[in-house]
């Protein structure tokens, strides 16, 4: 526990467990580049592209969120984070080889160039989010893709903020399940 990053992250997560949303956002923002670096280092060995790396990063963040009950406050947090990242990168590889019939990357030289995409964008996540049905799906899309706040979503859909949070929670769990079912 003497490692400063370890101490810092675990104190942020403890604060998040106590309901501190700011600490949680900060933790996830700091975890993202660390996870990205870790996954990028492994990506070459697994033959994954840059877009795959970001897919695995987002996958890992979503898993950290849904499975944060599996981190015990008296355990170090970095092995937990990186074990989840390691599991998710293997998933990403499986998914890549399963859906490898036509990889657009093979045609980049003959396809017209498109505007340079944001490197921290994942199209895989968009595809799964699009499959979310019902109000939960609408709310995940409004908050996740259009950047609406919980308050704005509550006005737009005529729901209380509490109901928006419940629907968001349900939608994110469903999202994680859908992602997992795409590998199995």
């Amino acid at each position: 526990m003497s490692n400063p990053v370890e101490t810092h992250w675990s104190s942020l997560m403890r604060a998040a467990n106590g309901g501190d949303e700011g600490a949680y956002r900060r933790l996830l923002s700091e975890l993202a580049p660390a996870i990205r670096a870790k996954i990028r280092a492994k990506a070459a060995r697994y033959g994954l592209s840059g877009a795959d790396v970001e897919d695995a990063v987002q996958e890992t963040l979503l898993a950290i969120h849904v499975k944060r009950g599996t981190w015990r406050e008296d355990e170090p947090i970095r092995p937990w984070v990186f074990a989840i990242a390691g599991y998710k990168i293997v998933d990403q590889m499986r998914r890549r080889y399963r859906h490898a019939e036509v990889d657009i990357a093979d045609f980049t030289e003959i396809l017209p160039a498109q505007a340079e995409p944001d490197p921290t964008t994942s199209t895989d996540m968009d595809r799964v989010v699009a499959r979310l049905t019902g109000r939960a799906g609408e709310i995940v899309r409004a908050i996740g893709m259009e950047g609406a706040s919980v308050g704005e979503a509550s006005q737009r859909f005529g729901m209380s903020e509490g109901a928006v949070r419940v629907a968001l929670h349900r939608g994110l769990r469903k999202l994680a399940d859908l992602r997992a079912s795409m590998v199995a």
């Binding site: 467990n17 993202a32 015990r72 355990e75 074990a83 994942s122 908050i143």
Partner: protein, 211 residues
């Protein structure tokens, strides 16, 4: 979706978390209760139970079953927490086979060689092979369900280990019903039955414990 937008979305969903250990404890208690109820309904203790409890051979049977259940449950909890060290519990799980081996050694020393084969074959081998997996099933279902809230990095292994835990509880109960007390019988048929349950657990883990 941009990663920063995902982070904002996840932060907006900061509901109180449910620690996995609590969910697993509930699943474990429910599983033991269900398996015990099934045992009492379909099997029940043998008629000479009071006399049997004075025999070391008899007492060794539920002891090995309980050692297996405790070691496997402890290891399963570790396996459900990503990055948690599991070595200590993996060694604790070895206590059950080591104890069984020690009882086998004592039995081989106590019995003349011509009595070994009848002791090993016993009278209830097939009953044992069917009963332990049957009794383990409710416990296995409960534990796999409980582990769904966990995050096993090796789902198949986690499933196999909860299979062993369920087999341990089932074996400890079945031991009270069965009249074959020789460690030679137990080491052979109970082990085979536990292997069946562990294999079923591994398949269930690969199927249902991915996340």
């Amino acid at each position: 979706m941009r990663t920063d937008d995902l982070i904002d979305t996840l932060a907006a969903d900061l509901a109180p978390r449910r620690p996995l250990s609590a969910a697993l404890a509930v699943a474990c208690a429910a599983g033991i209760a269900a398996t015990l109820a099934l045992f009492l309904a379909g099997w029940g203790p043998r008629a000479d139970l009071a006399a049997a409890t004075e025999s070391l051979r008899f007492l060794a049977k539920p002891l090995v079953g309980m050692l297996l259940a405790i070691g496997a449950l402890g290891l399963a909890v570790r396996l459900a927490h990503p990055g948690a060290p599991a070595r200590g519990w993996a060694m604790a799980l070895a206590a059950a086979p080591l104890a069984a081996a020690a009882f086998v050694a004592l039995e081989l020393a106590a019995l003349p060689a011509r009595a070994w084969a009848p002791a090993l074959l016993g009278e209830n081998a097939l009953v044992c092979l069917v009963s332990i997996p049957a009794l383990a099933l409710p416990m296995l279902v409960a534990l796999v369900y409980g582990l769904k809230g966990g995050a096993p990095v090796r789902p198949g292994l986690a499933g196999a280990v909860v299979g062993l835990a369920a087999a341990g509880v089932a074996a400890a109960l079945y031991a009270v019903f069965c009249t074959d007390d020789s460690p030679l019988f137990v080491a052979t048929w109970y082990t085979l039955a536990a292997g069946i349950v562990a294999a079923a657990g591994a398949i269930a883990g690969r199927r249902w414990l991915r996340w």
